[in-house]
Amino acid sequence: MNRQISRLSMVALLLLASLIVATTYWQSWAAPGLAARQDNQIQRVAQFRIKRGLILASNGLVLAENVRRKIGGETLYFRKYPTHGLASQTVGYSTQGRSRSGIERSQNSYLTASNANLGTIFDKLGDTLKGTTITGNNVVLNIRPNVQRLAENLLKGKCGAAVLLNPKTGQIYAMASSPGFDPNKIESNQGYASILHSPGACPGSVSSLYNRATQGLYPPGSTFKTVTAAAALDSGKFTPDSRFYDPGYCTEYGQKVSNAGNPEAPEAFGNVNLVQGYQHSINSVFCNVGMKLGAKRIIDQAKKFGFYSTPPLELPSGEIADSGEYDFKNHRPFDNPGLMDPGRLAFGQDKLLATPLQMALVAAAVANKGVIMTPHLVKAIRKPGGGTLVKVKPTVWRHAMKPTTAAALNTMMQAVVTGGTGTAAQIPGVLVAGKTGTAETGINGVYDAWFIFFAPADDPTVAGAVVVEQVPGGFGGAVSAPIAKQLMQAILPPTSK
């Protein structure tokens, strides 16, 4: 029987050895994947023993810090947000019960010192061997508290978003989404419920946890004419001087597509060129441009601007939406120009949806001679004991259009502010460039009011987008342009005021 017993022992030992292999798999190979799972509460609770890194604004203002509490002989670190909600969706939250969001989630490995930088690994090993608390790295944001606060105040009582960034570096100065929330309340059930069901200033809209600046999908309306104009000029089929006749509507598929305003008696501009068409935001002009270019060429240009892709911003991937034409049935972008309506697409309607971040990048592209810099919320990662671990450097993300096209669009956007639909954004002594948008929402007479902008137009230091949701009779030039003006003034040096 000994031969059988020997064979049986081999089987038994192999079975047990396979358990060592499986344990190795879960504890090394699969461990990062398990740690990243949202329902992995063990991982989250375990990280409460770590003194999490701070989140700071660009001037050093503390946006997220720790409160030490002793529970059952253990020292645990809980999050506290001293500003009670400045840039609430962007900073996000870190709780035991409800996971994490925003920067708290995307920068979690730095904040918990579990990133793979050699310096951090040594520091952490030292802390572990000494038995002292592991301290995470601090994350410094580009957010400027004065601009951020102003943006939130200007949007207070409204629903909407504002994004301001430096078009030459991609640094994000402000990213506001209104309404905001107090992240200190997330952990308690009552607080969470009150945030979820906050009395809706915006009818039928989503909760304040939602980052409208990056997740909010709005029809971009006339601000998208910037992309269409870029396609028109890049194609060589049009110049700024191309002539159009505007009877107040254009004819597509045998039907009238009217200019903005009363469809029964639309405003008609007669003989205009492309610049005037853009300056006064004439739908019929762009409708004709769109039909001549075809949907494919416009969509291709939009892709160069970053549509149909996720901007590489330091936020969790689930918190940034892609812009583009949407299939409303399954709520996903669809990319088949053959099924699009080129005339309406050209002035930003059809099924086109864009995030405020994306439209801010459109303005930034024009401002920066056609080059879109990678947008960055994070300025630097600092070691807990001082010293910089990572310094974020400006990099190019996209070439959106030819430099000559960008120069022509720059002039056109200035014309909008000097004598077009965006005069409310004028700042004395500063060349401001902008484009209004008054997007149809599907509800008659209720619009999403847009303004995209940059300044100073000859040497831009700020670009951005402002959107205010569902304003009855609200035009972009009247509602959003004044907000944009104040935000630009907060960033531009006082001498140019």
Partner: protein, 440 residues
């Protein structure tokens, strides 16, 4: 003995290793104490001293009853029980005290078995049918109205007064004794393939399988099936039995998958523990992600293992509750004790633990090889294989190697019947080993 003055005798070796286990136990408890109270108190060593004293008693008994038996098995059992009690203590003191009591009961029964059978355990062969019938009767016990208790959907427990136990754990040992005796007697005729002689065998084995499957105890059913096939193969050397058995297992498994919802759930959980969209949740009757519903236990246990990493935070420093005391891993002291240990000890510690199991199995199989009669060989091989397979079924389930079925991890899991039954298994192996070594 006198001819080899420079080598340690088996029992002295055993004592030496027990000393090492005692030191390890002391360090383990001290580590948990330091992590929880930030002080080392003499109380922390109480458990270690108590443990050492208990195993010293067991050692004295082995000295008198089985002087030539293998010296490694008792210290390894000691180490495994100590690891179990330390972890159970760390997870909740009250259960550790009960587990300690059960270990005392186990050691007492271990001593009684050794004393009773020290002359010749082979008398058991004469009572083989008694063992076979007892195995079935024990399995039936939880079905008796007034005695049985249903825990987690499986009726496996018997409650007499304040004492609860799982008769299935003992049934396994009795069945192995029956199989060893029966197969020893009939192996030649079975090897020639006379189906008539399979009768009593299939009857008793079939009855146990029926009871197990009908009481939803799939882990034990798999265990019994494996033990049966392994012992049949060892006795007859006919691979065709194993082959036919494996085919029957596949057919039976498929039928069970098709017919029994409980089985289908287990397999679904095993294959797809995570879903990205909500699926039907039988517990709540509504829709939920599978990881929040049916595969909750498995997924939480995997998170626990993953959190251990390479070195683990150390005994007493793992994460098992939220700061407000809410449990993060269900059944952590019984079915999922391995995920707790793997988290606290890391890959190094968990592998070391599995190596102890492998060593135990290797020693057990060596005893089977050394034994010189068929009954002893079959008994030792059956007991050892049962031990190995049980470890594989529970740890493999926890690690998602096979579908998860709740059985205990030998010597480590919280559970009185399991600990006591494993001490009986240990006594059996030592008896066989002693006889084999004395005869040399």
């Amino acid at each position: 003995m006198g001819a080899r003055p420079l080598t340690l005798g088996n029992r002295n070796r055993e004592l030496l290793y027990l000393g090492a286990v005692g030191v390890l136990t002391g360090i383990g408890f001290a580590s948990v104490y330091i992590a929880q109270q930030a002080v080392v108190s003499w109380g922390s060593l109480g458990y270690a001293v108590f443990f050492f004293a208990l195993y010293l008693c067991a050692h004295v008994v082995t000295r008198f009853t089985v002087p030539d038996a293998d010296p490694y098995l008792l210290p390894m059992a000691g180490l495994l029980t100590a690891v179990g009690v330390t972890e159970i203590y760390r997870l909740g003191n009250a259960d550790a005290f009960k587990q300690g009591l059960w270990i005392v009961v186990g050691v007492v029964l271990f001593a009684v078995t050794l004393l009773a059978l020290r002359r010749d355990y082979r008398v058991l062969e004469q009572y083989k049918y008694l063992f076979g019938i007892a195995a079935i009767a024990l399995l039936f016990l939880p079905r008796v109205p007034g005695l049985g208790e249903t825990v987690n959907g499986a009726r496996l427990w018997v409650k007499v007064g304040p004492v609860e136990f799982q008769p299935g754990e003992f049934s396994k040992i009795f069945l192995i004794v029956f199989l060893a005796a029966y197969l020893r007697e009939k192996r030649e005729v079975l090897a020639q393939g006379r189906p008539k002689d399979l009768g009593p065998l299939l009857l008793i084995w079939g009855a146990t399988m029926l009871v197990l499957v009908s009481s939803n105890d799939l882990g034990s059913a798999l265990l019994y099936y494996g033990i049966f096939l392994a012992m049949l193969y060892v006795a007859t050397a006919r691979f065709s039995y194993v082959f036919v058995g494996a085919i029957l297992f596949l057919v039976g498994g498929y039928a069970a998958y098709e017919r029994i919802p409980h089985v289908r759930d287990r397999v679904t959980i095993w294959l797809h523990p995570w879903t990205s969209s909500k699926v039907y949740c039988p517990q709540s009757g509504g829709l939920a992600l599978r990881q929040d519903c049916q595969s909750y236990q498995l997924v939480k246990s995997l998170y626990s293992i993953g959190n251990g990493g390479f070195l683990g935070p150390g005994l007493g420093k793992g994460t098992f509750t939220t700061p407000d005391g809410h449990q993060l891993i269900p059944y952590v002291t019984s079915d999922f004790i391995y995920s707790a240990l793997a988290q606290e000890l890391g890959l190094i510690g968990a592998s070391a633990l599995l190596l102890v199991y492998m060593l135990f199995v290797a020693r057990g199989m060596k005893i089977a090889l050394q034994a010189d009669d068929g009954f002893s060989k079959l008994l030792a091989a059956g007991l050892t294989f049962g031990f190995a397979l049980q470890t594989f079924i529970i740890v493999g389930g926890v690690l998602r190697v096979i579908p998860l079925t709740g059985i205990t991890l030998p010597f480590v899991s919280y559970g009185g019947s399991s600990v006591v039954a494993n001490f009986l298994l240990l006594a059996g192996l030592l008896l066989v080993s002693n006889r084999a070594n004395t005869q040399r």
